[in-house]
Every structure is written in structure tokens, then in C-alpha cells.
């Protein structure tokens, strides 16, 4: 059994294990069998992944083996220098910030960090930032602006942390301030949802010139569990809530909330970290090259207009 295998993935994982066990034997017969199984494997993935439900995508977005920012950084960037702390209270490990080199140019990175097993999950509070995380992000935004470097943000959080201290330190204000800063920040910003985009805690680093989303990522105002509990008073209706919320990349592209979907490797990003990273790098590079050529006042006007247009209503 492979760690964290989701129910609908089990046949894929079983087949993968059989293929792996065959690879240790090197007779012609087993090689042929392996080729056959490989073909079956690819078809199976194609069949299962072509009709994923929004809830299955939510599960993929939270997959325990899904690559997180610390997996992507060495695969996308040439160098990375982490910068710590908000200069006020502390250094929130749920948000990672720093400078990196992308295609021989410096970019600033602001990203949620969820962790991948119990010790790392705990160390970064499962990717749920406290106000000091958002204020560290705000400091880095201003730093990038001062040195005229673009910002790349990576979103992957269940949401901002709902705790006593978080409220005492003004969680709401910390998030709001980032929305305020990002909306007028004089440098290009690209946000990429790589896993879970959990409400205000995600948006706080997600106001950008271009918002990209991995194919199986989700982005929602509330978790399907929370929505089911509040609106139906019934947690068992989570699957239904996931569909109703329209939280998939495809839904959000149609609503023009995001700008582009980044395809994932067959069977999801967790099956091939390198390929997932290269796909992200390619799309980000293309957008960055375009944004760099727009002068700052025009860039800010476009960003402002983009958010002013968001909303669906009628005028009587």
C-alpha cells in the first residue's frame, strides 16, 4: 500500500506496484509483461482522471504526497535564499519567503508551506499562517518593490489559523493589509495555486497580475466540509458542497477568477515532481516575460481594472 493513496487512486497504485516489482526481473517475458502493464496503467489513469469530481480534486489538492513549495523551489529555481521574520513578533513557518534566481533573474518568493508528514506538518502549523506570517509576507512585498523585482507567490493552505493569539494579533487586519498592499504594489506579481486555496488565508498572498492554478488545485471561499456543516448542518454532504462551491481550476477559469490552468503530469503532480515543476516553470516564465515589458503605471491600472471587474450582478 502506497502512503496516502486515495480511494479512487487505489487501482492505479496497485498497478504501479506490480510494474515496479516486474522491473527487478529482467527476462524478455517479464519485460513484455511490464510494457503491457505500463500501457494499461496509462489508460487507467486517463480513464480515472478524465472524470474527476470536484471532491476528488479537493482530495488530490490535499494529497499527502503532493509536492509542496519546498519540493518545487530546487526544481524551478537555480538559487534560493530564505529571508525570515516579520520584524515585529516572529517567524511564521507557514509562510516561506525569500529571493531566488529564475532564468538568471532575481525574483521574490512568498509561499505557504504545509509540510508532508506529522513532524513537518506541525513545524509549519499545517500551512495555516498567523498574522506574523502575513506581516512577514508584507515586508517582503515592500522589499521586492523597492528593488524592482517581480514577486511569485505560491498558494497552498487550508486557511489562516483560527486561534486565540491569531485573533489577538489582528488576523483580519493582517490579511486585509496584504490585499491593500498587493493591489497597488509597483512590481509584477504572479500567484500560483499549487494545492489548496483556502479562503482569505490564501487570497492574502493571491492578489496578482496573473493568477495561475494547477489542474487539480482548488480555490474556495470555504472548505467543502465547512460549507456542508454551515449550510446543510450535515458534514456527510461534503461531496455535494464541493460541487456547489465551484472550486476547481476549470470552474474558476470560466468565471475569470484565474487566468490560466497549468496542466499536471498524468495521474496528478504527486506522481512526477520534476515534470510538475517544469510545467509550472514554463508557464510562469512566459507570463513573467510579458509582464516585465509593461510599464508600472499601466501594469497597476490593469491589475486594478481586473479586480474592479470581478463580480456578477444586474442593474435594475
Amino acid at each position: 500500500m502506497i502512503t496516502g493513496s486515495l480511494p479512487f487512486e487505489t487501482p492505479i497504485d496497485e498497478l504501479e506496484e506490480r510494474i515496479n516489482s516486474l522491473s527487478t526481473v529482467s527476462s524478455e517475458k517479464t519485460k513484455e509483461e511490464a510494457r503491457q502493464l505500463q500501457k494499461e496503467y496509462e489508460e487507467l489513469i486517463q480513464r480515472i482522471f478524465s472524470s474527476l469530481t470536484p471532491w476528488q480534486k479537493t482530495q488530490l489538492a490535499r494529497h499527502i504526497r503532493r509536492p509542496c513549495i519546498l519540493d518545487y523551489i530546487p526544481r524551478i529555481f537555480d538559487e534560493f535564499i530564505e529571508l525570515h521574520g516579520d520584524r515585529l513578533i516572529g517567524d511564521d513557518r507557514a509562510i516561506i519567503t525569500g529571493m531566488a534566481r529564475l532564468n538568471d533573474e532575481t525574483v521574490f518568493i512568498i509561499a505557504h508551506q504545509k509540510g508532508k508528514d506529522t513532524p513537518t506538518n506541525i513545524a509549519c502549523n499545517f500551512g495555516m499562517p498567523n498574522p506574523e506570517g502575513y506581516r512577514k509576507a508584507a515586508r517582503i512585498m515592500r522589499l521586492a518593490e523597492r528593488f524592482k523585482k517581480p514577486i511569485l507567490t505560491f498558494i497552498d493552505t487550508p486557511g489562516a489559523y483560527p486561534g486565540i493569539e491569531a485573533e489577538e494579533k489582528g488576523q483580519g487586519e493582517a490579511i486585509a493589509r496584504n490585499l491593500f498592499i498587493l493591489s497597488g504594489l509597483k512590481t509584477p506579481v504572479i500567484a500560483t495555486v499549487i494545492g489548496e486555496g483556502g479562503s482569505g488565508g490564501a487570497l492574502a498572498i493571491g492578489v496578482a497580475d496573473k493568477v495561475l492554478m494547477l489542474e487539480n488545485a482548488v480555490y474556495s471561499v470555504i472548505s467543502p466540509e465547512g460549507c456542508a456543516a454551515i449550510l446543510w448542518k450535515d458534514r456527510s454532504r461534503t461531496e455535494e458542497a464541493a460541487a456547489t462551491l465551484h472550486l476547481t481550476a476549470k470552474d474558476l477559469l470560466e468565471l475569470q477568477i484565474i487566468d490560466e490552468i497549468i496542466p499536471e503530469p498524468a495521474g496528478g503532480a504527486h506522481r512526477n515532481y520534476d515534470e510538475a515543476a517544469q510545467k509550472i516553470k514554463k508557464v510562469i516564465t512566459r507570463h513573467l516575460n510579458k509582464l516585465k515589458n509593461i510599464d508600472i503605471p499601466a501594469l497597476l491600472e490593469k491589475r486594478y481594472e481586473k479586480y474592479q471587474k470581478m463580480g456578477k450582478f444586474i442593474v435594475e
Partner: protein, 279 residues
């Protein structure tokens, strides 16, 4: 002995009915005191016994704060159920019910007028309309109110009361946080003051956007002001929250508010701030 016969019988006493002819008395939600309705209105729905500030409707708030001659604008902007969102009721049905109940088209009204003679654009959130939740209409009306402030060079005052983002509009409701914050940033850049008044309750996506981005933040006494609600926090940390947590007085102590102002002093205070800051 499990079934011992009781030695006494309980005779139900006729309940002494307190004379509360419909519409004459009001019971305070906080301390239970019965208050003569005339006094209740004279005190602006503040309990004379315990100083509890009961929720004020958007129209009553307008009457209380604004000078005469208020003009509502953008009143014709209406929500649509673009996701076909159905929980126990459809979103369309919820909107219709709320419109009937409140007489408003959505959870905010925006007006032009003055406070103590000082011109302002004001937004008043209506909690009775789907919990004052922020959807596309609230986002748009706040954005347009800011545009009006910039065009006319007048300050913005928003009276907040909200349960947060409107789930029935999915991620689009989340985007209203970005939209309104971007508008407030433009107002700030234009050097025009923005005062927010937090009334009971101010929570979630509204707290994490325009409510806390004001130049001056005022709250009424004992208002619940939070990002995450008390129940969510209790479930997360698995313990009871301390008395007074996330109330105005708590936020003031933690440096998150400029001041707490009782309802009866609100109009004068706003007038003074406007005068000192801008007029």
C-alpha cells in the same frame, strides 16, 4: 428505591403573567430587563440597565447618524444566482426572502449626505439581509462609493455588520475582499479619509478586508469583531474561550481599534473626527 412515591405533589402555579401588551415593552437580550418601548427608542435601542447595544436596522442607523437630506445612490444593483447554488433553499429564493424581509435589494445601502454638516459618502451594511454577507453587490457598491468619494473629494464612512463572505457566490465572494481592498487603497492614495464603524457583529471576510483598512476604526461597545468566529476557534483548539474574547473592549486593549464609542455619542464623535481630519 427507584420509584419512591413523592411525598409531595407539584401543583402547577398559574404563571404570573407580566403585562406585556404587544408592542409596549421590549425585553433586553442581554440582561432580560423589560423596557418601556418609548424609552427603548429614546435610548436608540441601548438598554438603560446594562448598556447593551441592540442591533440597529440600516434605516434607523441612517436616521441616527446622518443629517437630514440623505440621498441613496446605486440602489438598483441586484445579486444574481450565477452558480445555481442550492443548499436547503436556492440562492434565488434566499435573495427573494431577504428582499421581502428587509425591503433592501442586498446587504448594503450607500448614501450621500452629511454628518454634523460635514459631507460624506456612507455605506451601511444590513445584517438582516443574509447576515450582512458580502457578495458581488456589496463589492460593487463599495467600489462605486469609493469612486464617488474620489470624484467629489468627500470622506467615506462605512458601518459594518456582517457574517463574512457570501458562500452562495463561491470564490467570487472571496474576490470581493480583493476588490474592496483595492478600492480603499485608491481612496487612501487620493488622501481622502475613511472611517469604519464596527457594529455587532463584524466578522470573516469583511473583517479581513475593508472593515479593518480604515484610517480610523471605531466600534460600538461589546461588539463581536473577529476573523474566525468563536465556534470555529473553540472547535480548533478544543477549549472554551475566555469571557469577553473578540469583543470591542478586547480589541481596543490589543491595539486593533482607535476607540469605542457608545451609540448616543456616535454622531458627535464622527462629526468631530471629520472636522479635525479633513474639514
Amino acid at each position: 428505591m427507584l420509584f419512591r412515591k413523592p411525598k409531595y405533589a407539584t401543583i402547577p402555579l398559574p404563571k404570573k403573567k407580566i403585562e406585556t401588551p404587544e408592542g409596549l415593552w421590549i425585553k433586553c437580550d442581554e440582561c432580560g430587563e423589560l423596557i418601556y418601548k418609548k424609552d427603548w427608542h429614546a435610548s436608540q435601542m441601548v438598554c438603560p440597565e446594562c448598556n447593551y447595544h441592540a442591533r440597529l436596522g440600516a434605516k434607523e442607523r441612517l436616521q441616527l447618524i446622518m443629517d437630514e437630506g440623505v440621498e441613496e445612490f446605486n440602489q438598483g444593483i441586484k445579486s444574481v444566482d450565477f452558480l445555481g447554488f442550492i443548499d436547503s433553499k436556492s440562492y434565488s429564493q434566499r435573495l427573494e426572502d431577504a428582499q421581502k424581509k428587509t425591503g433592501f435589494l442586498d446587504a448594503i445601502i450607500t448614501v450621500k449626505g452629511s454628518i454634523q454638516g460635514y459631507r460624506v459618502v456612507a455605506g451601511i451594511l444590513c445584517f438582516d439581509f443574509m447576515g450582512g454577507s458580502m457578495g458581488s453587490v456589496m463589492g460593487e457598491k463599495i467600489a462605486l462609493a469609493v469612486n464617488e468619494c474620489i470624484k467629489e473629494n468627500v470622506p467615506l464612512v462605512i458601518f459594518c455588520a456582517s457574517g463574512g463572505a457570501r458562500m452562495q457566490e463561491g470564490t467570487m465572494s472571496l474576490m470581493q475582499m480583493a476588490k474592496t481592498s483595492a478600492s480603499i487603497a485608491r481612496l487612501s492614495e487620493a488622501g481622502i479619509p475613511y472611517i469604519s464603524v464596527l457594529t455587532h457583529p463584524t466578522t470573516g471576510g469583511v473583517t479581513a478586508s475593508f472593515a479593518t483598512l480604515a484610517d480610523i476604526i471605531i466600534a460600538e461597545p461589546k461588539v463581536l469583531i473577529c476573523f474566525a468566529g468563536p465556534r470555529v476557534i473553540e472547535q480548533t483548539i478544543g477549549q472554551k474561550l475566555p469571557e469577553g474574547f473578540q469583543r470591542s473592549e478586547f480589541l481596543l486593549k490589543h491595539g486593533l481599534l482607535d476607540m469605542i464609542v457608545p451609540r448616543k455619542e456616535m454622531k458627535d464623535t464622527l462629526g468631530n473626527i471629520l472636522k479635525m481630519l479633513y474639514y
